[in-house]
Amino acid sequence: MQDPYNPAWCPGCGNFQIREALLMAMEKKGLRPNQIAIVSGIGQGAKMPHYISCNTFNGLHGRSLPVATALKAVNHKLVVIAEAGDGDIYGEGGNHLIHAMRRNPDISLFVHNNQIYGLTKGQASPTSVRDLKTKTQPFGLLSEPLNPLLLGVAMNASFVGRGFSGDVERLSELMVQAMDHKGFALLDILQPCVTFNRVNTFAWYKKRVYYLEDHDPFDRRSAFERAMEWGERIPLGVIYKAKRPTFEEGIPFLLKGPLVEQGFDLERVKEALLGKKEGPGG
């Protein structure tokens, strides 16, 4: 039914460019389709893996990160990417995001941040501007927008960056950097939603974004500074990096190779487990 080259997106949607950038990044990294697994939630952006040739786990709204974390842990040879929407990952899935940053699995998270709920038709998202009036925000949005980059730096996420769908080439570069990074990489991608977001349009973003230069992502204080910048000027690029061991590196027996390749020897387990007597409480 689903033609991979006929995505269910509105003409003009930023998601098309994100897809292009992703394809480009995969090519740059020289990855074969079966070496990649894309895990996604539910939303417009989260439909992505259906339009890319790759292993795909399109799971529940907000729940891509636990799935991706475990997938990487059992097969660390796979390149694992999570594709999410802003509602998906900063709203429904907010708790998993925080704890993924703490765990630091070697996966990349690409957030299609259109500052709105697209698939469900235009409600405010956690990154929407304050006071936004929608059909479900009768008093205007009463919450302050979440700043994903600031959150990432505060949580000491090991890679925090921002891209813009309007610049496919450099977005794909950022994606490559995120994938090359050993650890959890949060890449927030500004993505115009031409149907529901009348505030943060392509032109709105275009006028404001600039690429960071001479910025040392390992300098946390300067990362806070850059992450706080939002308004007239919006920085793009890698905002923050921290050297941290990955989740998989903490699991001793993964040194032997991917868990999924380690096999299961029932006889050996029986022997080891039952050979000696078990006391109460094991």
Binding site: S53, T56, N58, L65, A70, L71, N75, L78, H96
Partner: protein, 567 residues
């Protein structure tokens, strides 16, 4: 010989330590042991107890009436004394009170002796020694257990403990003039013990579990602890998740990734996994879930027991899909049924449940050790498949090939949305219809693999106790007692879903004429309801318990006999 002891006191006083020393000692002697735990949701204070029953014959439940109460604090005496049999004894710590406790009691200055022997921490050993002395057992097996437990801590500590054991033992033998317990000198081989949570953990390890993620929740945490203790040795990733939603989604991710994966919780935690359950169903990703029940609703009684989540777990999650549910009646069943849960889950690519409860989780049973032939293992994962591979291919039995992403050449694509054979999202009415049928079709074969109920008791019973899950032992012991007065039997279900309809109907046919009594550790009789809906079987009477405590077999026997007399 059939003796019951209760060790009671505050949380933090070492009740569990004493209990475990005792069950180890009795097992060493070759006795059959049954123990269960009753504790409050707090770390210190309150009143908890550990109950142990021993016999030279197999036993399967606790009794309300006890022969010996070991009271670690004074508050425990009034709380539990009513349950001490007329000829039973109370053993208490006379260093805690000046006042005597009257007939049928023996005060031993436990804490004082411990201090004299080298520190209050030895009190547990003194008390345990005293208990064994009062009973008139030999001390030797206990000394061995003590040696084993403390040998790692150095010679000095081991010796101190041995002396404490001896001191308590001698004191009791000397002072307890009224002690007149009839104990046999057991000659059997040393026995093994198995606990409910441990059994589930062992079953999982033997089934090749390689990923376990959970969020701590009493009374299921023991499974997590067990698997964590085996993690390095058997290459199992054990990860404490940030919440139960993450736990089940991780488990699904791990299973999608190609390894056997499991999670566990209690009812409230499982409630948070319900959406994840539907994800496992939609993507046909095998997972095993242990739900260790405690009384609800909501937080309820966190450390107590109930069988009230049966219908919840059976119908949890939106949409229609097959699932497997086992409710083991003993630690031994828990082990084999956990293994069968993995087997069914992997074979049919469905979620499988072990429904346990606090009573079973924290009980220890003597068991004969594993029957290795009963362990099912077959690897259903596909490690070779080319580019034509389709994750959700339509097949005759509804089961599609389950390949490992990254390992096979083809792409493994799946979706929580309705999808086509390749796994891609679809809106087609036709495909939707076929996918529903594909998934539900598996039920046919699954049902055939389910065993019917177990019958035990009189050949032509007047009364049949009908139960499921953790009440197995209490039903067994009750039937034995009741049978002495009127012909009685029991029918116990531990393989619940897909409900073995015809096997159940056949089992009841044989019992025509007998009165069925549903015995459930809940208020509404959920299993009786299920029996009616699935097999048109009506149970005319029910016995329910829903105060957070388990059934005791002496208590239940009386209730059954009272009912029998009334009809």
């Amino acid at each position: 010989m059939d003796l019951s002891f209760r060790i009671a006191g505050e949380a933090g006083q070492g009740i569990q330590t004493i209990g475990e020393l005792l069950v180890k000692t009795f097992s060493k002697m070759g006795l059959f042991v049954f123990s269960h735990q009753d504790y409050m949701s707090r770390i210190r204070g309150g009143n908890n107890f550990y109950q142990i029953r021993i016999s030279e014959r197999p036993i399967h439940s606790s009794q309300r009436s006890i022969d010996l109460l070991l009271a670690l604090n004074m508050e425990s005496i009034p709380l539990h004394r009513a349950h001490v049999k007329p000829k039973g004894m109370v053993l208490w710590d006379s260093s805690r009170s000046e006042e005597g406790q009257g007939e049928g009691s023996l005060g031993i200055p436990i804490l004082r002796m411990a201090r004299e022997l080298g520190g209050e921490i030895l009190g547990n050993i003194v008390a345990t020694g005293a208990l064994l002395g009062m009973l008139g057992f030999e001390l030797e097996p206990f000394l061995e257990v003590v040696k084993g437990s403390f040998s790692e801590k150095g010679k000095e500590i081991a010796e101190k403990n041995e002396r404490a054991a001896y001191a308590g033992y001698e004191y009791a033998r000397r002072e307890c003039l009224t002690c007149s317990f009839e104990v046999c000198s057991p000659k059997g081989e040393e026995k093994r013990l198995l606990g409910g949570n441990e059994a589930i953990g062992m079953g999982a390890v033997l089934s090749g579990v390689r990923f376990y993620s959970a969020y701590p929740m009493t009374p299921s945490t023991g499974i997590l602890n067990y698997l964590a203790s085996k993690a390095e040795e058997f290459g199992i990733i054990v990860e404490q998740a940030e919440d139960e939603i993450a736990a089940i989604n991780m488990v699904i991710g791990a299973s999608y990734g190609g390894v056997r994966a499991m999670t566990g919780s209690s009812g409230g935690g499982f409630a948070l996994m319900v959406e994840g359950l539907s994800l496992s169903a939609a993507t046909e990703t095998p997972i095993v879930i242990a739900e260790v029940q405690r009384p609800g609703p909501a937080t309820g009684l966190p450390t107590r027991t109930e069988q009230a989540d049966l219908l919840f777990v059976l119908f949890a999650a939106h949409g229609e899909f097959p699932r497997v549910l086992f409710a083991p009646g003993s630690p031994e069943q828990a082990l084999y049924l956990t293994n069968k849960a993995f087997h069914m889950s992997e074979r049919y690519q469905v979620p499988a449940f072990i429904l346990s409860d606090q009573y079973l989780a924290d009980s220890l049973w003597t068991w004969p050790g594993i029957d290795e032939g009963k362990i099912l293992y077959r690897d259903y994962r596909i490690r070779e498949a080319d580019g034509t591979y389709k994750r959700h291919r339509f097949t005759q039995d509804g089961v599609s090939p389950l390949a490992i992403p990254g390992i096979v050449e083809g792409l493994v694509v799946t979706d929580s949305d309705e999808h086509d054979e390749e796994g891609h999202i679809t809106e087609s009415a036709e495909i939707r219809k076929r996918m529903v049928e594909k998934r539900l079709m598996k039920l046919l074969h699954m049902r055939e693999e389910m065993e019917g109920p177990t019958y035990l008791g009189h050949r032509s019973p007047k009364i049949v106790l009908v139960g499921w899950g953790s009440t197995l032992g209490v039903l067994m012991d009750t039937v034995e007692t009741v049978n002495k007065k009127i012909p009685c039997g029991m029918l116990h279900f531990s393989e619940i879903w897909p409900f073995p309809v015809s096997k159940a109907q056949k089992a009841f046919e044989v019992l025509k004429g007998a009165i069925g009594i549903g015995v459930e550790n809940n208020a509404t009789g959920q299993f009786a309801w299920l029996l009616r809906a699935e097999a048109q079987i009506e149970l005319p009477w029910k016995i329910s318990k829903y105060d957070g405590r388990p059934f005791y077999s002496d208590e239940l026997s009386e209730e059954v006999l009272a009912y029998a007399r009334s009809i």
